[in-house]
C-alpha cells in the first residue's frame, strides 16, 4: 500500500497529527514504569488524549483526501520518510526529566498551535480544537508543575533536567522554520515562536535552569520527512502486527 497525500491542508495537518501520535506512543512507554502509581495514571491520561487527538486529526485528513485511506492506514502503513512529526517528540525517555521536558516543550507549542487552528475555515477542525485546548490545559498543568518540582527539587533532579533540556533544545529550532504551508494555515506563525520562547524562558529562569546557546545544527527539516534515528525503531514496534499480517483485520 502506497499512501499518497494530495491536498495542502492534509499535508499541513499531518505535521500536527503525526506529532500527537508519536508523542502518544512515547508516553505510553511509561505505562507500568512511572515513578509512582498516581503518576502512571496521569501519564496514561496524557497519552490517551494524544492518541485520541491524532485519530481525530487523521479522520479529518481522510475526509479531506476523499477517504482513500483510513486513520489506521496512516498510522500503520507509512514508512519513516512519510511521517512528518517534529523531531522533538520522537526523542526517547532517557529518564523522567526527558519525559517531562519533552512534554512541556510540546505542550507550550501545542497550546498556541491549537489556539490558532480554532479560527480555521475547517469546521471539523475548529470543533476538535475546543476539545483539545481543554486537554492541553491539563497536560500543561501537569508538565509545568513537574518542571518546577524537578528544577527546584534536589541537586540531582536539577542536573538531570538541565541535561534533558540541553539535549532536547537541539530539536526546537526546526519547529519555527515555518514554510509557506504553515503560513497558509496558521494565523500568526511568528506568534507561535514568540509565545513559546517567552514561556520557556520564564519557566527556566524560575527553576534555576540555564538556557545554553545552541549552535544551529545541520539537520534537515521534519516538514520534508527527515528524522532522528529513533523514528525507525518506534515505527517498527508500533507497526509490527499489521505489517506482519497484511491480510488480517484488527478492531
Amino acid at each position: 500500500m502506497k499512501i499518497t497525500i494530495e491536498n495542502n491542508e492534509a499535508k499541513f495537518l499531518f505535521r500536527i497529527a503525526d506529532t500527537s501520535l508519536i508523542l502518544a506512543q512515547r508516553m505510553a512507554e511509561l505505562c507500568s514504569n512511572a515513578p509512582f502509581l498516581e503518576e502512571d495514571i496521569a501519564i496514561s491520561n496524557c497519552s490517551l488524549d494524544l492518541f485520541g487527538r491524532a485519530e481525530e486529526l487523521y479522520k479529518i485528513i481522510a475526509t479531506i483526501e476523499g477517504n482513500k485511506f483510513t486513520p489506521d492506514d496512516y498510522v500503520f502503513r507509512r514508512n519513516e520518510r512519510e511521517f512528518f512529526n517534529i523531531k522533538l517528540v520522537e526523542q526517547p525517555n532517557e529518564d523522567f526529566a526527558w519525559t517531562i521536558t519533552r512534554q512541556f516543550m510540546h505542550d507550550v507549542w501545542a497550546k498556541e498551535v491549537f489556539t490558532q487552528l480554532s479560527s480555521s475555515k475547517n469546521e471539523e477542525l475548529v470543533g476538535l480544537c475546543s476539545k483539545v485546548l481543554k486537554e492541553i490545559e491539563y497536560s500543561l498543568l501537569h508538565s509545568r508543575d513537574w518542571m518546577y518540582r524537578l528544577g527546584l527539587g534536589t541537586e540531582e533532579s536539577n542536573k538531570r533536567t538541565q541535561d534533558a533540556i540541553d539535549h532536547l533544545l537541539k530539536y526546537v529550532e526546526e519547529i519555527f522554520n515555518f514554510d509557506d504551508l504553515d503560513k497558509e494555515y496558521f494565523s500568526d506563525c511568528a506568534n507561535i515562536e514568540r509565545v513559546w520562547q517567552e514561556e520557556i524562558n520564564r519557566v527556566f529562569s524560575e527553576i534555576n535552569i540555564e538556557r545554553k546557546e545552541i549552535q544551529p545544527l545541520s539537520m534537515r527539516d521534519f516538514r520534508d520527512g527527515f528524522h532522528s534515528e529513533h523514528i525507525g525503531h518506534l515505527l517498527s514496534i508500533m507497526q509490527y502486527l499489521p505489517r506482519a499480517y497484511p491480510d488480517a483485520k484488527w478492531s
Binding site: 505505562c31 515513578p35 518540582r149 527539587g153 508500533m238 499489521p242 488480517a248 483485520k249
Partner: protein
C-alpha cells in the same frame, strides 16, 4: 469473650459490614491485609503482561482501549492499597513486602503474553475468572473492601468484554489469527482455572475466612461457575478447550474437567514460573530508577510549604 468481641461477632452474624474503626480480632485484620494487598499487587503486576503489547497494539482503537484498561488496573491497585491502609498498613510497607516477596500476587501474571491473541485470552479468561471471584467478594464482611469490589467489578466486566471482542476478531479472522487464538486458549485455560486456588480440601485459609465471611464461596464452587460459563463461549468461537477429559454431566448440569497440574501451580506460586523474576525486577526497576523523582517532589514540597509558612 469481652463486649468488643461480642459486638464483632454480632456484626458477622447479622451479615453487616465491619468498618475501619470497629474492633476486630488481630487475625481478621491480618487476613484482610494479606488478601487485599495481594489483590492490589495483582492489579499492579497485572499491568505488565498487558503492557507488553501496548506499544504493538494493531489499531488505534485497540491501542486506546488497552491503555485505558491498563490504566483502570492501576486505578484498582491504588484503590485497593487505600482499602488496605484503613487496616493500618502503609503503601510503602506493602511495596516492601512485594519486593521482599513476603506478599504474593496472583500467579497468573507470571505467564508470558507472547502473541496479540493473549490480550484477548487475558481479558476473556483471566479477567473473567477474576470477576467470578470479585462478584462473590462484593459480599465480603470488611466494608471498604466490599464497596471497592462493587466499583471494580463494573470496570472488570468491561475488561472481559474487551478481551472477548479480541478473541472473536481473532477466531473469526484469518487462519493465522485463528491459530493464535487457539494457541492462547491452550496456554491460558488451565492457569486461569487454577486462579481460584487449591481444591477446597487443600485450602489452608478456608475455614476461618468462611466463618468470618471474608470469603463467601469456596474455591471449587467459584471455579465451577467459571467453567460452566466459559465453555459455551469457547464453543461459540469455534475454539477447542484444551482438555480431552472435559464433559458435560447431564445429571449435575455442570462441566467436569480432567485433574489439573497442581505441581506446576505450586511451582509457579513458589517463584519458579516463566516470568516471576521478570515481573518483580520490572517493578523494582521502575521504583528504584525513579527514586530521585520522588525525592525531588518531596524536597520541592518541603521548600514550598516552608515558604507558605
Amino acid at each position: 469473650m469481652d463486649k468488643f468481641e461480642q459486638a464483632f461477632n454480632q456484626i458477622i452474624e447479622d451479615d453487616l459490614k465491619v468498618e475501619p474503626r470497629d474492633w476486630m480480632p488481630e487475625k481478621y485484620r491480618q487476613t484482610n491485609i494479606r488478601q487485599i494487598s495481594q489483590h492490589a499487587h495483582s492489579e499492579i503486576i497485572g499491568m505488565q503482561p498487558e503492557g507488553n503489547w501496548l506499544l504493538r497494539a494493531p489499531s488505534l482503537r485497540s491501542k486506546q482501549v488497552l491503555l485505558a484498561k491498563i490504566q483502570d488496573e492501576a486505578g484498582h491497585g491504588l484503590y485497593l492499597y487505600s482499602v488496605a491502609e484503613t487496616l493500618g498498613i502503609s503503601r510503602q510497607e506493602m511495596n516492601e513486602q512485594l519486593h521482599n516477596q513476603t506478599a504474593k500476587y496472583s500467579s497468573i501474571f507470571n505467564y508470558p503474553t507472547v502473541t496479540w491473541a493473549d490480550m484477548g485470552a487475558v481479558g476473556w479468561l483471566v479477567d473473567g475468572a477474576a470477576i467470578v471471584n470479585q462478584v462473590s467478594l462484593q459480599r465480603t464482611s470488611y466494608g471498604p473492601y466490599a464497596r471497592a469490589m462493587v466499583r471494580i467489578c463494573k470496570e472488570e466486566s468491561f475488561h472481559q468484554r474487551q478481551g472477548y471482542e479480541i478473541m472473536c476478531q481473532m477466531a473469526f479472522g484469518t487462519a493465522a489469527q485463528k491459530e493464535m487464538a487457539q494457541d492462547a486458549l491452550n496456554r491460558f485455560w488451565e492457569p486461569a482455572l487454577m486462579m481460584f486456588g487449591p481444591h477446597d480440601a487443600d485450602s489452608v485459609h478456608k475455614g476461618q475466612s468462611m466463618a468470618w465471611k471474608i470469603k463467601r464461596e469456596s474455591n471449587d464452587h467459584l471455579r465451577q461457575r467459571f467453567i460452566d460459563r466459559t465453555v459455551p463461549q469457547a464453543e461459540y468461537l469455534g475454539l477447542t478447550i484444551p482438555d480431552k477429559g472435559l464433559k458435560f454431566n447431564e445429571e449435575t448440569g455442570h462441566y467436569e474437567t480432567s485433574p489439573f497440574n497442581w505441581d506446576e501451580f505450586w511451582n509457579v506460586v513458589n517463584g519458579n514460573g516463566p516470568c516471576n523474576q521478570e515481573r518483580l525486577d520490572h517493578h523494582k526497576k521502575a521504583h528504584n530508577d525513579n527514586r530521585w523523582v520522588r525525592e525531588a517532589a518531596e524536597a520541592y514540597a518541603e521548600k514550598t510549604e516552608a515558604q507558605v509558612a
